[in-house]
Point group: C2
Chain length 321, copies 2
């Protein structure tokens, strides 16, 4: 397998530690993704292909493969590709929703081809995911992925509904993150293997992933995140760093998010950071990752597999340290 040049260090660590079987399996996933996206006879899939080429960490496919272990067969590779297709679909739709110009430092489908094509491209990626699993008659995986997809859409709707509401509670925020992010990580683990502890492991690192993503939106720097600081705030999305910060400095809650521009959004990021909220949210994320790794102990599989999954969990944190 040619390793994508954009692979971040923690993922590389997992690949190096598992050179016996994981890289080849990930290569098969990439192959399936390419087939699922092209093969439409003409250039219909060009927006989808751009999304594929933009890369990404392939964290969810890696979780599927690692949970399944070295004995996982073709059905595991298919499930890994399918979950990444759903993830890509949500990214493309999110960019329509957020009107985002950049994703991973590259122009979004919505920005280059218009919202119209981006909605349809997301639908295509989504349909392809189910097509891939259904053609292989993999009913269990279809059920898991459909369930997670419902959660994703509900999470997205909840986020829209909460937008610009300064009264959003931490509890509500966590519920949203569970739906929007954690459920798909959980699904990835269960697609790999139905085993005690894996649900908690996936949900835990997924939640941590979202918390740290929300920290990054405030902390930047843009050179590393590929997007401007305070993008969520400009979009009216109130995340844990802001909720935590308002606990220390209630005047933060009074900022009119509707009136923000990019420079006042940066200033608000500075105010949030000054309360120490980012450290507190990071600490919560680390706690979640620690608990997730403990949940792994309940799963009965080889020490190599447990070690690799721990590396993925660490990778979620390290990416942001």
């Amino acid at each position: 397998m040619t390793r994508p040049s954009s692979v971040p260090p923690p993922v590389t660590a997992v690949l190096d530690a598992s050179s016996r079987w994981l890289p080849a399996r990930l290569g098969e996933v990439e192959e399936l993704l390419r087939e699922a996206i092209s093969g439409h006879g003409d250039t219909l899939g060009e927006d989808a292909a751009a999304t594929l080429q933009a890369g990404g960490k392939r964290l969810r496919p890696m979780l599927v493969l690692l949970c399944a272990g070295p004995e996982g067969g073709a059905e595991v590779v298919r499930a890994a590709a399918a979950i990444e297709l759903v993830h890509m679909a949500t990214l493309v739709h999110d960019d329509v929703l957020d009107d985002a110009p950049l994703r991973r430092g590259l122009p979004t489908v919505a920005a280059t081809s218009g919202r119209e094509r981006a909605v349809a491209t997301g639908d295509l990626l989504f349909s392809r995911a189910f097509d891939l699993l259904a053609d292989a008659g993999d009913a269990r995986s279809v059920a898991l992925l459909a369930d997670a997809s419902v959660a994703l859409a509900r999470g997205e709707l909840a986020q829209r509904r909460d937008a610009f509401d300064p009264g959003v509670s931490a509890e509500r925020y966590f519920e949203r993150c569970r739906l929007k992010t954690a459920r798909l990580f959980e699904c990835a683990c269960l697609l790999g293997r139905d085993q005690a502890g894996l649900r908690e492991f996936g949900a835990g690192i997924g939640l941590a992933f979202q918390l740290l993503d929300d920290v990054l939106d405030v902390s930047g720097p843009p050179e590393r995140t590929g997007k401007a600081r305070g993008t969520d705030l400009l979009d009216g999305t109130i995340t844990l760093p802001m909720i935590e910060a308002a606990g220390s400095d209630p005047s933060i809650r009074e900022v009119d998010l509707h009136a923000l521009d990019s420079s006042s959004a940066e200033a608000l990021c500075d105010r949030i950071e000054a309360t120490g909220a980012l450290e507190r949210v990071r600490a919560q994320a680390l706690l979640l990752v620690g608990e997730a790794k403990q949940a792994l102990e309940r799963a009965s599989f080889g020490s190599e597999q447990r070690q690799l999954l721990s590396l993925v969990a660490d990778g979620v944190v390290q990416r942001y340290s």
Copy 2:
């Protein structure tokens, strides 16, 4: 079952002719649709519920039920609800794409709740469709519906790609309609029963349905269609009436669709109508319906079922006569 007040006459004809079993079965479909859309604990599904309440002809569920026949069980009712959920998802997303203010004479989700929520609402409806089938372990239906969904998204992308291109051929138009509309009608029939002739029947009436829909966009009247004349033209969508009209009056091809406003769009509709193109497209649709009914003869089921399906085929035409 309480019959929705908006049920159009041809559908009523089918219901009356099949009072023995069809209305009760359709009632079960409505019940499943309600369950699939609500039951999210809070008002998350309110946009989706509005889409449900806006009604519609439930043509696709009716095809599923009729093809399955009176002996069809719970799995047929589920498949009927699932295909309607996918159809509703595409309507919600289409309205985002088209920026449409009205659908069936009522405000669209995109218009009342914003594009953002409309994209997520469509995703929710879509996920629910697969969730419904997958939970019941109905792998065959999942495969059929996933396949049709891929076609739908490809058709939508093709339409976006062809937008504002005056050189679009009739062949290209038909290919688009097959993907965007006919495949889902075909899928409805196959969800009901895997039998010779049903694929052609579904595809034929689906194609006719789209042709007549495109005639209606030009002919109006808005009081009946619930949207302004020339909505497709304003959106840059070149359909068979315009392609046919340009065959008689090549100057029609030179109209700059980018420069249209609602009154010049109406004037263009008048010019298209004046060429006799609408009659020619209607005649093609009638031919397709006739062929579809012939394909029914190859299916081996009771005369009542064949008669009811013929009524549906006639209904596709009558709605527009």
